[in-house]
């Protein structure tokens, strides 16, 4: 069955809503049980350990037929995932932090060999100091490896994004691996309400994986991972970049199709109360929920604040984001990074968003804040402080700092 055949009547039928409560890790494991992928190589690492643990239980109970490969490291986990996917099997894995770092070489191989592996990343800081808590330095460290990256605010989005990952990754126009990211502990270990879809609805939506080319196909032999001399390597890399560009429209098509079964509409980003906003915060992950709650309180006090929550980081929706900022007509924009780039001027989101704004000739004041490193809590009071500072910048009472830490001990 190819991508287009997924759009059958059953695939677009709205699912019955199943109200439940579970953690973000349970939500991803639940989606895996519903999808029943072919192969899962994994090595446990906090805070993503529960995902392979729960999947192993589903397998032991006979609920799914997934082949679980217990490997001796994350380097091997991604290597095995590449082998399985190249053989034509729908393959998944899960990891965090140093586990993703140890996969680095293979992340590039999965992407450049155009293998649609789906990886559940439970974001955790990288050492040192050694620490188990959330920031985005693991995901951001892999931002140039050629993987699609989608970030979640809560367990619901982690579940919904995970289900959408397969039709995006496996689409013939894309054929790229996807990283579905959620905040370690903050959502992975928090039990919250969630609306689940029926098993049949998820299965129909994701469809059967039927790759056009695969290793174990005597009728159509292919070579995977060959050497390419300089005459051809650059074309291969450009073809990979073209696929990443095409992924944008496939992500939006998939989101529309997902809305038809779930009633929940996704895009590259979410604009929350930004229509007339003077001050806007642009950020990713669980902190967006906290920012929305803070914006509601600010609006009650007459402060016109809003939030742009970036969902899709790769491909980076530069033009669309810049247009969204232009539409707000805001006086100042805070760009929040849960990651440090150690470049002396800001975080990765700060660099990419300001580049997008400049190219689109949107010359609003921006401040790049670094927050929440290694699990440092991010609160509504922090948002109030940021909006106060944006007001001061907009009114000319202070110069915009280009790079500033939030919640640092004095």
């Amino acid at each position: 069955m190819n991508h287009f055949e997924r759009d059958s009547e059953t695939a677009v039928k709205k699912s019955r809503e199943i109200r439940d409560r579970m953690s973000g890790n349970e939500a991803v494991a639940h989606a895996i049980r519903q999808i029943d992928p072919d192969v899962m190589p994994a090595f446990p690492i906090t805070p993503s350990t529960e995902i392979p643990q729960m999947v192993s239980t589903f397998i032991a109970n006979g609920e799914i037929g997934t082949e679980f490969i217990p490997v001796e490291s994350e380097h091997s986990a991604m290597s095995a995932a590449i082998g399985a996917e190249a053989a034509g099997a729908r393959t998944i894995t899960a990891t965090s932090s140093a586990g993703l770092a140890l996969m680095w070489e293979e992340l590039l191989l999965a992407a450049s060999n155009r293998l649609p592996v789906v990886l559940a990343l439970v974001n955790r800081t990288l050492s040192g100091p050694i620490n188990i808590n959330c920031d985005h330095s693991d995901g951001m460290g892999a931002r140039d490896t050629g993987w699609i990256q989608i970030y979640a605010e809560n367990n619901q989005e982690a579940y919904d994004n995970y289900i959408q990952a397969f039709p995006i990754a496996e689409d013939p126009r894309v054929h790229l691996p996807v990283m579905i990211c959620q905040d370690g502990f903050i959502t992975s270990h928090a039990v919250e309400n969630i609306s689940l879809l029926e098993d049949e609805a998820v299965k129909a939506f994701v469809g059967q994986y039927d790759p056009e080319e695969f290793l174990l196909n005597p009728g159509k032999p292919v070579s995977v991972g060959p050497y390419a001399i300089s005459d051809y390597s650059m074309e291969a890399k450009k073809a990979q970049e073209d696929a990443m560009e095409r992924a944008g429209s496939v992500i939006l098509e998939t989101a529309d199709r997902f809305c038809r079964i779930s009633g929940r509409q996704y895009g590259f980003f979410e604009e929350y109360r930004t229509e007339d906003a003077d001050y806007v915060l642009l950020l990713m992950g669980s902190a967006a929920g906290t920012a929305k709650a803070a914006v509601d309180r600010l609006r009650e006090q007459g402060v016109r604040a809003g939030v742009i929550k970036l969902r899709v980081f790769r491909p980076f929706p530069a033009a669309e984001l810049a247009e969204a900022v232009r539409r707000t007509g805001c006086k100042a924009l805070a760009i929040l990074d849960r990651c440090e780039s150690y470049n002396g001027v800001g975080g990765p989101l700060g660099s990419e968003v300001t580049q997008a704004l400049y190219r689109a000739k949107v010359y609003t004041e921006t401040v790049n804040y670094i927050y929440g490193l290694a699990g440092r809590d991010f609160t509504v009071d922090h948002v109030f402080g940021i909006v106060d500072e944006l007001q001061a910048v907009a009114e000319g009472r202070c110069k915009a700092p280009d790079h500033k830490y939030i919640g640092l001990r004095s």
Binding site: R21, T46, I132, N133, E153, N154, D183, F185, I186, T187, H189, A190, V191, E192, N193, S286, A287, G289, T290, K292, A293, D377, F378, T379, V380
Partner: protein
């Protein structure tokens, strides 16, 4: 019940404060509430101080941060009173619920000048009597439910039994002991609530 009730749990790694917070979220969900139950991990080891949190609300919860001004505080291990300011940020009109063999008057001097309501429950004794071992989180769960009123007594016992039946599907023999632990703790706190109300009325 106000729109959102926020609860902070203090315990030590291995005592089940996190499990209690998750179970409370579970039963509150079953009574139709929006819930959050989540732990905050420091060093990952047995005996280290840990915190866990609950938000229970009539409307959807979006905040994803720890709780600094809780409505209620539960202390699963009384030795923490010497090292942690458990009532920090506790809202006026709230209460702290402590697992201890001491009386309210005896523990109050350990609460660093805190003036609000204090409830004590001997969760250790109840657990040892009903479960044969020290699992203080189960009695504490009942005590917290009784004091906070996040759900009525009947709903609590109905839903927690259902939750235990699911949780202990492979060892159903422990369900009755856990139910007895909950009942004993709930009754003890009901008595204390009644006694404190009488004291306030006569004062």
């Amino acid at each position: 019940m106000r729109d959102t009730v926020e609860i902070r749990w203090h315990g030590r790694g291995g005592q089940g404060a996190k499990t209690a917070a998750l179970l409370l979220a579970d039963v509150a969900f079953q009574t139709g509430r929006y819930v959050q139950g989540f732990p905050e991990y420091g060093p990952e080891r047995m005996g280290a101080p840990i915190t866990a949190y609950n938000r229970i609300s009539r409307s959807a919860i979006r905040i994803h941060s720890n709780i600094y001004q809780p409505d209620y505080v539960a202390v699963v291990d009384e030795t923490l009173l010497h090292s942690v300011n458990v009532t920090d940020g506790l809202k006026p009109g709230g209460a702290v619920i402590i697992n201890t063999s001491k009386t309210t008057e005896e523990v109050r001097p350990l609460l660093k000048g805190y003036k609000g309501a204090v409830y004590t429950v001997n969760a250790r004794a109840i657990s040892e009597r009903t479960l044969g071992r020290n699992f203080p989180n189960t009695p504490m769960l009942a005590a917290v439910t009784a004091v906070t009123g996040v759900m009525d007594k009947e709903s609590f016992f109905r839903e927690i039994r259902a939750s235990f039946t699911h949780k202990f599907a492979r060892k159903p023999e422990v369900i009755e002991g856990n139910m007895k632990a909950l009942e004993a703790a709930y009754a003890a706190v009901e008595n204390e609530l009644e006694a404190q109300t009488c004291v306030r009325r006569s004062a």
